[in-house]
Subunit: 221 residues, 8 copies
């Protein structure tokens, strides 16, 4: 393929799916890359995929049980099921509108063997909502927090737990949210220790990092 350089060195990261970021690629390119990755026997994940891309992939009939996570806009082809993690990875959202980004994190973490739990709509304007989940959160090895608008949930949660918090700013909001810039800056300036940040709407990267951490912990290193 002239348009893509398939990476055969990823075995160094055993347990990772092969991943295709769809925007800017033609449907034909995506199918070809998908096939090339799948024929090695690996799990394949295509992110930010419009429904018509999934339909085209399904129509090839080459990928049994491939499915589409609509909310996450992800195409999932799981050829071999990984063993489940012992601990649960909480994925927390500030609002209902942050769900698509959380869903991308969820599907990514799960294809890498993580057990996840979605805790939804517990933003800081009503603190009692998050307080009810505190014990569960304190049992985690790492937490993903997804929040748009003012993005304050990562700081508040970071102050209540003693594990790393991976903060995902979202583009949810309007006006002075400037496409997620507000939540991004809030999270970068967090006064709570242990909070690190990924790109706006990047549920995928948060899930990969959380999985890396959890695997290290569960393998006792």
């Amino acid at each position: 393929m002239g348009f893509a350089c398939i990476d055969h060195h990823r075995q160094i990261r055993r347990g990772f799916p092969e991943v295709i970021y769809c925007p800017g690629k033609s449907t034909e390119q995506i199918i070809q890359i998908f096939e090339s990755l799948a024929e090695k026997g690996n799990n394949v994940l295509a992110t930010r995929a419009e429904p018509h891309i999934f339909e085209a992939i399904a129509k090839t009939k080459k990928f049994p049980d491939v499915y589409y996570e609509e909310l996450a806009r992800a195409i999932v082809f799981e050829q071999k099921k990984l063993p489940y993690s012992k601990s649960i990875l909480p994925i927390v959202t500030a609002g209902t509108s942050d769900l698509p980004v959380a869903a991308e994190a969820k599907v990514t973490a799960e294809i890498m063997g993580q057990r996840t739990e979605l805790i939804c709509d517990v933003g800081v304007a009503g603190l009692h909502r998050i307080l009810g989940h505190l014990e569960k959160l304190r049992n985690a090895n790492v937490i993903i927090v997804v929040a748009g608008m003012e993005g304050a949930l990562a700081s508040v949660l970071g102050g209540m737990v003693s594990c790393p918090v991976i903060a995902v700013p979202t583009s949810v909001g309007y006006g002075a949210s400037f496409g997620g810039l507000s939540a991004l800056l809030t999270m970068l300036n967090s006064c709570a220790s242990g909070v690190t940040v990924v790109n706006i709407d990047n549920g995928f990267s948060a899930a990969v990092t959380a999985t890396l951490i959890n695997k290290k912990v569960e393998s006792g290193k």
Copy 2:
């Protein structure tokens, strides 16, 4: 004075001090404006005043009992004491470094007759610190919140009370705080209802607005 146009219509806002914003004005100009305002018998407040400006004003010996609030960088000349407000105006800061801005708010509110209480260093990274003050805060007619860095305190507090919250972002922080921009955006994007925002570091304006609200309430309109 060719350089300043003294406003003789302010009586419409009875109880307000005359105010001089010092930056960009020469010490001589400030003294002349100060004299012109004081000779009407009004209280005078000079904000953002470097110590040498206060010394020059004090040296004129024309303003008995004029004093300098060092933390707030304010010069205060209170010729007639206003009656105290019945309710207390809480001024809450996220961190110790936000104190100078809170102090400007405090001195401004007090010269306008407000009783104030400073609640300091109760940022969201340690929520229990603010929870201890909750009853007091719920008694207020209006609250001023002063916070830099990620500025999340306004949202959290806004979700816990049922009075208006005036949020003052501060330039406390570094890097991606971009001189207070981060806290400003956080506050503007607050999910909590009842939060309005003033300019970065503008403790003065927050105090004026809070006083306007409190006076309206206490006069029963």
Copy 3:
């Protein structure tokens, strides 16, 4: 509901409607949240709602007399009429194009019991237009000013009245208005005391704050 955490503590803010911010939520999610909120007997308001969402809600036939404020893009379900406020809340716009934001403020304030008056198209390029409304404005406990482009109306009006002014920058404009940034900065830098600011196009939040203030005043605290 996995996707939303309904808040049962809002009774602390008696008189508030339950509110749904629609963007980023699916129609199905909105209907479920709507039902959940309505069954407690409260008034419900859905903001930034596209017409097809209203149609879907109306089609359920579960919400008698629910209606759609087209200009405000708001769905209103008023189960119990609140008593009217004594004073009138003026909502002032600089131009005709600012009307949708003003309409959101209006519908929000009214469902919370405020009597409102819309004063439209009185921007600073023709000062005589605002001067004719001055007496009415001076009677208010609080004023909402809605302006895009250069957003100067809040400063001008703030200099003429002695009550708090809540300034709503709008995204009306083009080029160097940068989606409302210009009006936002103008309002934050206002030289007039008593002006506080909410997010760009956030008529809802301005109305909530104005109502909070007015209720405090009319209840004599």
Copy 4:
């Protein structure tokens, strides 16, 4: 001179002084350019000049009656007095802190023969201040408005007169004024027709343009 290319074609703009923008040039360079320009018999103006540069120029004793406008930070060497304009050029400032920029405009316009009048501290937070000068302003061929912070004065004034208004945003302000960006955007977004804008703090350029206009008018073209 290797470091400067003196322009001998400026006669096309008769009546203009030769001008040196000082920042970034060494004192020696400035003196050499100054001499080179002066020896043609022209008037010379050096802008943004620190006092020590003036002292160095004065010490050469080559430029009789050269003087320093402290407020404007300008060095003026007027070898031949131009005839005065018939009409008066008003230079209006919103606040006292805007004076240095207005002073640069004033000294520039005057060395080009304009009669000027400074109208100072008439910002929009107290409209009655500008209203008192209205007749004078309506007699002008062109007006310069100098304002920092929210910069609303240009729009308000532009709506009251029928001549062009040249708006000079200043860097006066703090926080969300972002070094004059706020006033700049306000002025660019002005709803009032006839307002054009120059760079932040650029009193010089405003004065040159105003003079160009006034000369065209007074020469009947």
Copy 5:
């Protein structure tokens, strides 16, 4: 009309059309404002008007000879023809893509009685193109320059003429043009004297200012 405040004081600016800025207004609102303005006998101009708005206005049959300038997206209703100006107003564009903005300037200036000449596609990457028009440009009282991308034409032209240059940055470009910001900053930082700037794509305002200047000149003040 509740949504618009028609301005009956514009007679102070005799010769001006009544103007409607269309974006953000409903077609119905535009028609009502149009009627209200037209019935005083004045010329009416509607800017940034989509074709369907013109069709709706034409269909009313109330405005004989109303027409649509497609390139400028302007609706023109000229009830009384103004006398032509003696001098010609040059409107210069850097590229063909800048034409819509130049066309808005042209139609605006002409309805106010200006004779205009469009000089198109003479950007600085091929200087000889502008040099061929130099004599014509030097005869003007004022020049409008319209340029996107790097926007350098205003500086180059400003250095070659001795009349004021009104620079209109356009949103033509991509990438680091940031919607016209690049051209805007270039023009604001122009080293050539006599250049003032209006908002991005604001051909209308440039034309109004140019007309104000030209009228002053031709009336001998």
Copy 6:
């Protein structure tokens, strides 16, 4: 043509095609310019052309063998084939999604006689992919690097070769890529010597500069 000023001085740059940048021009304008350029016998290139523009041009039947490079969105009319360059110009992309910009560079370089080689999808997250191409890259006189998102490939490659590297940031990415700003800044701040940068997505300009360099080298100056 009133809307375009055809440049007949380009012979100074022998070997260049005539180029039309399509956005903002009507199809009719593009066809007229295309004809005007083609009738001199030169090669013609139209960039950023939507398919329907090509169809309109093809339908004129005036340009034999004109074709459309779909990926590059370029219309190519090659009337005379230039001799091929001796050396090969490598065009390297970080990801598959950067291909359209690389394709624009490729078609541009080829119509100017360059032999090119596309090396695709060799971004820094898998360094071994670029290392396999190193020898080929070290033989080049100049290299074009096309990268979006974090844009780090230009720095890495610049550190491995001793010829100039022309870096093209692309708008590929989301969130904090801010439309290519991230890659642009990365490339401008490159620690590797010999890296220069063009506008975001500007494959055309990179190809022209690379061709200029290669021609100089191959002509031995």
Copy 7:
């Protein structure tokens, strides 16, 4: 203390020092907070401390063996030595100028018991420099990468290891580095999985997160 609210709940994060962020606090305030924290027997760390603050603290003679890490600008008071971690935490810098930020990370991690190794000046413009350290890096549980200017090192390194990488952008650079914004955006847009980001120059926060991860791993959860 009115100005600080000492947090007695931190025991939930056993092994953490008490930390004072110095900027914006007076020397007196810092000493009082320092004393209050130290008297509980905990380790105390003061970051961003100017030398004169350390001198004032040392002069109190209350804190035996307190010392100043000059490069990190940190005051360290280690009352009880924590057991060393088994694994080594690599702290990697792109250039020598990034050392102060790396030093802050180092002193922070060490007071929390981490064994660290500084790998300095291995930026991407000379890839062989980082390649020599690869084995060591692959043994780590987590890596801190500190880089200014184009900040590409985090992406390159992230592609070579299978543990989480915490990226610290620094303000090292000039011009279009915009105070660290360039490196920050590069890191947020990293194509390499497993990279998360903290605030510009925030070595402290990176060290805390890295320690949290390492402790989780070494405790086998």
Copy 8:
């Protein structure tokens, strides 16, 4: 040295000096790196060096004939003189204030064997100044253009020559130049082909690239 990783692979770029970027490094670090680089017999260049650093280096007496280029703020240690280039590299500045950046380019190019010519103060506001140098410029293999403020010189010059132009934006300017951003954007958006851009004030990088090009050309590849 723990703080620097000396690069022994630079022989691949024969003829390059070893270079130290001084900001952020201590004087001691700079001296140690300087020694380490010099003892290999190579030429050494230290850029952005304050005078006191040169004095410290000179005082070591280890580097005969080391000297300080004051304008460029560069320390030059030329142990072996390279043969001169045949062609001349023109370095063109828009204004006198751009000289320090041009001087950095000059000293860098010269230590790499380039013959240079400085053409100073020929900005676009007086086009005749650059026209006089045109023949000389057309003989060059590559040209460096250094300009601040509006930065238009690169576009104008790029339209007049047929060799690559390397554009260096400078931070010369004020207000809306935003520290060189204006000139940077202008240059990135240049309509003239063959213009590429380096970081603001980066005379060093422009000189390296220009030398790379010229060497390629003069070696006939």
